[in-house]
């Protein structure tokens, strides 16, 4: 299962953080700091997987943004790697050509999308269409 999801830029600013395991604040800060340090200097030619404590971080970089998922050591790495890409495609579709700024100013939307995509640390919906339609429904309610 996914332990947490982080979106961080190259400077280490957190753009989104979602934890599916209970952590204390100080621990969260530590985790965010460590994960950033772990992924930021990795060569693009390296694997997208890094061991992190007793788990594994699956990460992918899009422009200046790092998307990192912390998963169990036994989880299927490539499936989660593509799960990151699917999430990015959904964001891209929703914001039409997403950039970091969209995520900054609409962080609340990003949380909303994420909640339609992943729940309880597991994939909930893999159809881009279903999620985008659902977002449309929700926007009408606001």
């Amino acid at each position: 299962m996914i332990r947490f999801i982080l979106l961080q830029n190259r400077q280490g600013k957190t753009r989104l953080a979602k934890y599916y395991v209970p952590l204390e604040e100080s621990e969260k800060h530590k985790v965010e700091y460590e994960v950033h340090r772990l992924v930021v200097n990795r060569d693009p030619k390296f694997t997208n997987f890094v061991e992190f404590r007793t788990h594994k971080v699956i990460y992918r970089r899009y422009a200046g943004l790092f998307f990192s998922l912390c998963v169990d050591i036994t989880d299927n790495e490539l499936a989660y790697l593509e799960c990151i890409h699917l999430f990015v495609e959904i964001l891209d579709h929703f914001f039409s050509n997403v950039c970091e700024l969209d995520l900054v100013f609409n962080f609340h939307k990003v949380y909303l999308i994420l909640d339609e995509f992943i729940l309880a640390g597991e994939l909930q919906e893999t159809s881009k269409k279903a999620i985008i339609e659902r977002m449309g429904e929700l926007e009408k309610l606001e």
Partner: protein, 1055 residues
């Protein structure tokens, strides 16, 4: 994309983005937090829209990494808003800010339940999402049946049902005992007929969780899973939106194959045949394509199929196909695929006998050990470790040793551990083993844990053929100019034990051995000197007849260390000197060590124990357990040398060399225990343990944790001779069991809240829940046995100071396995004092007698009750008083800089009510509270803090105490800010502590003789000063600084 709705939020985000530096950003955030806080205070004027906006702002600030310690209530309260926009914000922000352990969440349970059982579909979704993300035990208890109903309801849209499936999954994973899944097998089978792939994806995850726990009830799901897999693999009837780069939902395929791995086998021939057809198609039909995403997705499916094939013990032909594929993968350039090739080869080793085929790839794997990417190197190391056997051990260990010199620090410890284990397991001859270990110590001494050298000593002691060889080797290393300290230890030990066997060889006379060992003494730390002293004593003993010159030299050394400050060294020096003067007696006592009992290698055990935790138990692991273990396990014979060994922590026990076995033993077992972290308890099932658990990254907490405590209790004990008996210094504990977490920090945290963990070690967890009313308190101790065997000789004694009356209910002698016992403790606060009660707790697990002394959080501030005071009441009072004893003032410097908001929060958690607006100066803080004790009844206390925004490291505090009944006299506290040099918590703080403690000292002793005294102001101030100076009190800071303060106070008191 246009900014949505909230202008204020967008403006705030822009402001933050425009900040030039961190300081500006902090100022802007502080301003906003202040603003939000005041708006929340007068909630009446707040429209739902505004509230929503502020809650979003809070989340944003929180995301930036700032502490947001208020407003949780507001976020939670939005959940019960009637309209969607507010409710949505409430749910989302709550699930980001809070986790299952927050008490606030309880407030929302009812609303959440109403939303779940209500008719509004959108509300249902929101509620299910939050519970799925952060729901804890209480949620499981009250909501699981409702969620189950939604999942199988025919009237709900797929949207709701997929959320219900995952929500249920969360509740079940966290509390499998609470969620009733009787009869769910049929329902799960029905759910697998679902046409909507979203619901099916979620349900499949739920199924994995259920079958990983117990597959037996779910056989009916098996053929359905195979059907789903067939449908996906053949792309039959899969909507376009569920294909990803042309591949029908790779995620669902992966999950389905995961579920299948939890069934031990497939009986039905038809099902088995269809499954193998599908798998064959995946194995053969996956090609490398250009598009990265497509390639990844298809390989995700392929690797899962490989795992399933391995699990099913397919025909030889298919297995060799798999091995061939993996062999191809570990040679490709694409790093992800190579990584996975290595990883899956390692897994394959666990379940099938493919060692010989994999051995052909050895050269390729060794290349990966030198890859620039650490992730790949780790996988290669694991694989080499797994594939090693007698035939290739020499080559592989050789490679590892070579790599050790160039490997980065992060990997050296693992490398040396693995090399040591392989050398031990597969040594073709024992002298090679000794060579390897000594090389290891030589090349990477810093990363060789004590276990490793203990183990080599054990081997040499037990194998007579090896002894001379080992001594020669040790002598060779000692000749080198610079060697690692561990090498000094092991060489000195070996030469002391076995050097005499070589006495006739040139260069091995007692004198020469002594000379080369003694040359190293100035280079080693205190922890090694005791070993050297023992070696000297042994050398002396073996020199018969005595050599006068050598004897004088060695006696000279013993003489010198007789006054050593280190107790261990001192004791050995004194004893060895006395013994060696006895002549004959020395021979008996210092004779060669007896053989060690054979037992499982601590190293192997250590390697086996470092298992990661996962949401579901790994299928491959389950399977490996079913097969007979071929791991090397030595039988645990009866100890030869009589003393039963505690196998938990001192797996490799170094023999006692002095006549006082305990002292030596203790020292060594402690080093051993802290370093090895061999935990005999089964891995925590709790998900909470995952990231917080004791990790190799963090250092051992024990020594640091206990030090401040002992200082603290000493200090507490000093002021009152009568009470000092109750407070026992904790420093002399001789436990070999190490606590988990910092005891002192846990205590401090509990001083600020009413429930939490007081103490934890591998065997037991002691939790506390407390309720306070006026001068009365009721604590409940929760003693939880974490093991599968009972804890015996459980004893709990309360050592209470004279100011507290405490009564502990009966504590059972034994705690059954995995059980929790509750022991209520009644507390009465008799009169004010700073003394702390101590729980003296002991139990026995196996051979370990564990005794800990824990301070109980029945502290001064628990007997406070916040009370608000109006300006009309306040001012006339505090002006009328000017000095002690009812009003005390103190300038405190060198405090941890706190924002006013943070300080207000600190006050709140100390149960002082901050009265905003009372003090015209915005940099000041005024608070009031009532203190209760049996002798004083209610005392009103007022506090005022004056701060200087320019220098937050100092403040002036004034505390005033008002007589009970009407407000007739006052206390207030004020903090000044005359800018003198402050900061370095050394001298300035020392002086302030000094004065305070002196004063308290006087007051406390007056209490002791039973006088009524108005000292509350005194120790409120004392408490506050302490709290504020001590960064670690409310916030985690460094304990070192704290120790300094306590020391300072101790000095003050003693002076």
């Amino acid at each position: 994309m246009a900014l949505s709705g909230m202008r204020g939020l967008a403006v705030f985000i822009s402001d933050i983005r425009n900040c030039q530096n961190k300081e500006q950003e902090r100022l802007r955030v502080d301003k906003e937090l202040g603003n939000v806080r005041t708006r929340f205070k007068n909630e009446k004027g707040l429209t739902p829209y505004e509230k929503k906006k502020y809650v979003w702002k809070m989340l944003y600030i929180y995301m930036l990494g700032y502490d947001v310690d208020f407003g949780h209530m507001e976020a939670v309260s939005l959940i019960s808003a009637p309209k969607y926009p507010e409710k949505q914000v409430g749910y989302i922000v709550t699930s980001c800010l809070l986790n299952e352990n927050h008490d606030f969440l309880r407030l929302a349970i009812n609303t959440v339940r109403n939303d779940i059982i209500g008719r509004n579909e959108t509300f249902q979704c929101l509620a299910l999402t939050m519970v799925g993300n952060i729901g804890g035990r209480e949620f499981a208890e009250s909501l699981a049946p409702d969620v189950q109903k939604l999942l199988i309801s025919s009237s709900c849209r797929p949207l709701v049902r997929k959320k219900a499936a995952l929500c249920l999954l969360r509740l079940y994973r966290k509390n499998p005992d609470v969620v009733n899944i009787d009869g769910w097998a049929d329902r799960m089978a029905q759910l697998l007929d679902e046409r909507d792939l979203g619901v099916l994806t979620s349900s499949m995850s739920l199924l994995v969780a259920l079958v990983s726990n117990n597959h037996d009830s779910y056989w009916s799901c098996l053929p359905k899973c195979v059907k789903i897999l067939e449908r996906l693999a053949r792309n039959q009837d899969i909507p376009q939106e569920y294909t990803y780069y042309g591949i029908p939902s790779p995620w669902l395929q992966v999950k389905t194959m995961r579920a299948l791995q939890y069934f031990p086998t497939i009986e039905d021939p038809n099902t088995r045949r269809s499954l193998f057809e599908v798998l064959q198609r995946i194995l053969m039909g996956t090609d490398v394509v250009k598009n990265v995403n497509k390639n990844n997705a298809s390989h995700a499916v392929l690797f899962e199929a490989l795992a399933l094939v391995m699990h099913l013990d397919a025909e030889k032909e298919m297995m060799s196909q798999c091995v061939a594929l993996l062999g191809k993968f570990i040679a490709v350039r694409e790093p992800n695929i190579r990584y996975l090739g290595l990883e899956n080869m390692t897994r394959m080793l666990m379940v099938t006998d493919v060692q010989d085929i994999i051995k052909r790839h050895q050269a390729q794997i060794i290349t990966s050990l030198k890859d620039p990417d650490i992730s790949i190197r780790r996988r290669a190391l694991d694989l080499l470790y797994g594939m090693c056997d007698v035939s290739n051990a020499k080559d592989i260990v050789e490679e590892l040793l070579q790599y050790l010199s160039t490997a980065e620090f992060a990997m050296r410890e693992e490398l040396s551990l693995k090399a040591a284990i392989l050398a031990e397991k597969f040594a073709p001859d024992l002298s090679w083993y000794v060579d390897v270990i000594l090389q290891l110590i030589d090349k990477a001494g810093d990363f060789v844990s004590d276990d490793i050298w203990f183990r080599v000593v054990q081997f040499v002691t037990n194998n007579e053929d090896l002894q001379s060889y080992a001594a020669i080797k040790a002598r060779e290393y000692l000749d080198k100019p610079a060697i690692h300290e561990t090498m000094v230890k092991v060489s000195a030990y070996l030469l002391g034990e076995f050097g005499h066997l070589l006495a006739r060889r040139p260069g091995y006379s007692a004198k020469e051995l002594f000379r080369i060992i003694h040359e190293k003494l100035p280079t080693v730390s205190t922890s090694s000197i005791p070993i050297l002293l023992s070696t000297y004593a042994k050398i002396l003993m073996h020199t018969q007849p005595p050599d006068q010159e050598l004897q004088n030299q060695i006696w000279g050394i013993f003489n010198k260390y007789e006054s050593c400050i280190d107790v261990e060294i001192q004791q050995r020096a004194v004893e060895y000197l006395a013994l060696s003067k006895k002549g004959e007696a020395l021979m008996d006592i210092l004779a060669e060590m007896p053989k060690f009992p054979e037992r499982q290698s601590a190293l192997i055990k250590k390697a086996e124990d470092t298992e990661a935790d996962t949401a579901e138990q790994s299928a491959i692991k389950l399977r490996a357990q079913q097969q007979s273990s071929n791991a090397l396990v030595l039988t645990d014979q009866r100890p030869v040398n009589g003393t039963p060994t505690s196998s938990q922590l001192t797996l490799v026990k170094v023999p006692n060399m002095s006549s006082y076995p305990d002292s030596t033993d203790h020292e060594l077992s402690q080093t051993n225990g802290t370093l090895s972290k061999v935990d005999s308890s089964p891995p925590e099932p709790d998900l909470l343990g995952d990231l917080l658990g004791p990790l190799a990254i963090e250092g051992p907490p024990s020594a640091v944790a206990q030090a401040p405590q002992s200082v603290m209790s000493n200090v507490d004990g000093v002021p009152n001779a009568v009470e000092s008996g109750a407070i026992v210094p904790v420093g002399e504990q001789t436990n070999s069991v190490q606590p988990i977490g910092n005891i002192s920090e846990r205590f401090h945290a509990l001083c600020m809240k009413d429930s939490g963990v007081l103490y934890e070690d591998p065997y037991i967890q002691i939790g506390i829940k407390a309720e306070w009313r006026a001068h009365l308190g009721r604590l409940v101790l929760f003693l939880g046995n974490k093991n599968i065997s009972p804890l015996a000789f459980v004893k709990a004694i309360i050592l209470s100071p004279s100011n507290l009356k405490m009564e502990l209910s009966l504590v059972p002698d034994t705690i059954p396995p995995r059980a929790q016992v509750q022991c209520p403790l009644e507390v009465i606060n008799v009169h004010p004092s700073r003394d702390v009660a101590v729980l003296d707790f002991s139990y026995k697990f196996g051979n370990d007698l564990v005794n800990v002394k824990l301070r109980l959080p029945a502290v001064f501030n628990k007997f406070l009750q916040p009370i608000s005071v109006s300006a009309e009441e306040f001012f006339p009072q505090w002006r009328s008083l000017s000095g002690p004893p009812l009003k005390l003032q103190e300038v405190v410097r060198g405090v941890k800089p706190l924002l006013l908001l943070e300080m207000a929060n600190l006050f709140n958690s100390l149960r002082l009510m901050v009265c905003p607006g009372l003090d015209p100066n915005p940099n000041n803080l005024v608070a009031s509270t009532t203190f209760y004790s049996e002798s004083t009844q209610a005392m009103l206390c007022l506090v005022r803090i004056e701060t200087d925004p320019a220098d937050r490291t100092q403040l002036r505090m004034t505390v005033e105490r008002v007589y009970q009944g009407t407000v007739d006299k006052h206390t207030y506290a004020s903090f000044n800010n005359s800018a003198i040099n402050r900061h370095t918590t050394g001298s300035t703080t020392r002086s302030s502590c000094y004065t305070i403690t002196n004063r308290s000292w006087g007051n406390v002793s007056r209490f002791a003789v039973g006088q009524r005294n108005d000292s509350s102001a005194d120790f409120i101030q004392y408490t506050f000063v302490n709290m504020i100076i001590q960064p670690a009190y409310p916030y985690s800071g460094d304990t070192k600084a704290n120790e300094g303060h306590h020391d300072a106070r101790a000095c003050g008191v003693l002076a």
